[in-house]
């Protein structure tokens, strides 16, 4: 039923769009992409490699009611199989959804204050603003956005040992039991979150700011129709001392557990008592045909029955160099670090609650036309364990961005 509802929403949006095609107030874009990857599976697995297909089409529309007021709509159709075994998507099926839908009012004040209400991209960090396939110079996303750690929103650990067992969640490796690795609720450190709420943002000559009050956390966004809504505060800002360079910072805090875990909680606690906090720093530097983007994030989770806040840190550094009008090269280095468990392990060891990971993705992109882009990349993915399992990925992606009105001419 939910899918039918989403489909109806998209159709209504499309009908509204069709009704206003003749208006100059409409902005309309479609971004479609398909990814074909061959993933090397961890040693001992069979088959040793497999092909995967991911596809996505996004319809983006904006409509200007007045010079100060406009509405935004984004609907997506996804088919996600994940790039490799280690980072499976939550749902390996085709989904249809409304990603964004909000009203924005520009106040005209000197501070450039804008007010926004609805479902919109989380203002934390920077990568979300360029997550579309034609703006992401590589096929994969930064590791801190995709790696699903052992902290879960829908299942609670009975003790610290559960984290060790859950590290085998997607790695059918010798010595690991996968029986406890199934289930849902694996949380990334930061998701591609489109929560629902209110946001104020603006910018001056050398700085920008964002402040949002939304319904769900960075790692576990919720649709507004689901039960277990939880208030999250997000504050972010940046300085741009000169146009080639910007340094930003973000902070977010709020509950992250699903309401469904209530029955598993220790007596006297409530699922909203357990929070995720995150602090992020991001920078962008541009020199002619050379672009550098980087994000650093510290986050921690309060987990029931675990005496310490479980922290993690992740960062990436991304470089892109345009060689010719059609050809560019890109690379991204990622690392993730996880806290050690300070108690609850009886043999005196202090294992991490998740294995550290690092990843290097190198790619090349070629503009076949203004609208058509082809990218290819290779990901070296490593998990820092005794076995050092390899789960490298090689892939190719085709991206098409166009204004659908041009097809109707």
């Amino acid at each position: 039923m939910r899918r039918i509802g989403y489909l109806l929403l998209i159709l209504i949006g499309a009908l509204n769009v069709s009704a206003t095609l003749a208006e100059d107030r409409l902005g309309l874009q479609v971004i479609a992409d398909g990814i074909f990857t061959r993933a090397q599976r961890p040693e001992g697995s069979y088959p040793s490699a497999d092909w995967r297909v991911n596809g996505q089409a996004a319809l983006l529309a904006s409509f200007r009611f007045t010079p100060s007021l406009f509405a935004v709509y984004e609907g997506r159709i996804n088919h996600l199989e994940g790039l490799n075994d280690h980072d499976p998507p939550l749902s390996q099926t085709t989904t249809i959804g409304v990603v964004q839908g909000y009203l924005r009012y520009t106040t005209g004040l000197p501070t450039g204050l804008n007010l926004q209400a609805g479902k919109f991209g989380n203002p934390f960090g920077q990568f979300l603003t360029r997550n579309y396939a034609d703006q992401n110079p590589l096929i994969g996303y930064p590791l801190m956005y995709t790696h699903r750690t052992t902290i879960r929103s829908s299942q609670l650990p009975a003790n610290s040992y559960d984290f060790l067992r859950w590290q085998a969640r997607a790695q059918p490796l010798p010595g690991y039991s996968t029986s406890s690795g199934t289930g849902s609720g694996w949380l990334p450190l930061i998701n591609f979150a489109y929560p629902t709420g209110l946001m104020a943002f603006g910018s001056g000559a050398k700085g920008d700011y964002r402040f949002a009050l939304v319904n769900s956390s960075l790692s576990n966004p919720l649709n507004p129709t689901r039960s277990g809504q939880r208030v999250q505060w997000v504050a972010a800002g940046g300085i741009t001392p000169f146009q080639r360079f910007r340094l930003g910072a973000s902070f977010a805090t709020g509950p992250y557990l699903d309401a469904s875990v209530s029955s598993q909680l220790p007596a006297g606690t409530f699922w909203r008592d357990f929070t995720q906090r995150a602090l992020g720093v991001d920078l962008q530097l541009t020199l002619h045909h050379f672009e550098l983007q980087s994000e650093l994030m510290f986050t921690n989770f309060q987990v029931p029955r675990i005496s310490q806040r479980l922290g993690a840190a992740g960062y990436f550094v991304e470089l892109k160099h345009t060689l010719t009008p059609r050809l560019f090269l890109a690379g991204r280095w990622n690392q993730l670090y996880f806290d050690r468990l300070r108690s609850g392990i009886t043999n005196g060891e202090r294992p991490r609650f998740d294995s550290n990971r690092y990843s290097l993705e190198l790619g090349v992109g070629y503009h076949l036309s203004e609208k058509l882009l082809v990218k290819s990349s290779y990901q070296f993915n490593r998990t820092v364990t005794a076995l050092e399992p390899r789960d490298d990925v090689v892939g190719i992606q085709l991206v098409y961005r166009f204004d659908p009105r041009n097809l109707l001419r």
Partner: protein
């Protein structure tokens, strides 16, 4: 000395053509009067043989500076042939273009996320574009009879600005060998590029008040975009002959110095079906042609 001024005032309108004549003629006249008034007493200090070239130098210098700073509002069809005054060997093609077909409107900017480091306010809605100014009139498949084509004299470098996330103008017609300037007037980066066969380039990211330039050596249609703002687009039409012009805001156009012969004249708009007419040009005559797109 005053002869020099009079010569300047009289000859300037001849440089211009069509609707550009009145505007530049008036402006130049104004500059001349001011120069005459303000320089007169000081020039008396110089002997007559120095005064004359000095006065001419001042007037021409002022005029050059004025033209350089007025690139944006120069009428679109000022760029007709300027190499010589009309004479009996050539004809002038004049006419009016009207647009009666419905033109697909250009979409506005989509800023789906709160920008990091850019202005938070929306770009101002662009003023309604006069699509007549995006119509280019040109002679098709023009072949030179032996001698190379005369060069057009424009006075200022052709320029496409980036203002409020819009290319201004969105249509430019130039002759091969000309260089187009792309100044960034917005307080954030733009990345102008083209993948067109006639000229592909990528100017990289550059900030406000910086200018990058591109020379166009091959005839054709060059579509211009911005890597950062996908809704921005413009077109440069490059011709290997000088017989073209853009229509004015009222649809009037003029192509001067056309030699005798039979030609196909085309009225072209990026988003409309082009219209063609075959014309016979006799020396010294004015040919009138109207188009409805």
């Amino acid at each position: 000395m005053w002869l020099a001024f009079s010569w300047c005032t009289a000859s300037i309108p001849e440089i211009c053509c069509a609707s550009g004549k009145a505007l530049i003629g008036e402006a130049a006249g104004c500059v001349t009067v001011q120069a005459r008034h303000s320089q007169g007493t000081r020039l008396k200090a110089f002997p007559p043989r120095i005064r004359c070239p000095l006065a001419a130098f001042i007037v021409l210098g002022t005029l050059t500076a004025f033209l350089s700073s007025s690139a944006v509002w120069l009428p679109s069809n000022v760029n007709a042939l300027a190499s010589a005054p009309p004479n009996g060997e050539f004809a002038t093609l004049r006419g009016v273009v009207r647009i009666e077909s419905k033109i697909q409107p250009r979409g506005h900017a989509i800023n789906f996320y709160s920008r990091r480091g850019g202005p938070a306010v929306l770009p101002k809605p662009a003023a309604p574009i006069n699509e007549l100014e995006s119509v280019v009139l040109y002679l098709e498949d023009f072949k030179a009879a032996g001698a190379p084509f005369p060069r057009r004299s424009r006075g200022v470098e052709p320029t496409i600005r980036q203002v409020n996330e819009t290319f201004v103008p969105q249509m430019l017609a130039i002759q091969t060998g000309e260089t187009v300037r792309f100044p960034n007037d917005d307080p954030f980066f733009h990345n102008v590029f083209s993948l067109s066969g006639a000229r592909s380039f990528d100017l990289g990211r550059y900030p406000k008040n910086q200018v990058r330039s591109v020379k166009f050596d091959r005839p054709g249609i060059v579509k211009i975009f911005c890597h950062i703002h996908s809704h921005m687009n413009a077109v440069v039409r490059v011709f290997d002959h000088p017989y073209f012009c853009r229509a004015g805001s009222d649809g009037t156009f003029s192509i001067a110095q056309v030699p005798e012969g039979t030609y196909t004249i085309v009225a072209w708009h990026e988003r409309l079906k082009p219209q063609r007419q075959v014309i016979r040009v006799q020396p010294g005559e004015n040919v009138s042609i109207d188009f409805v797109l």
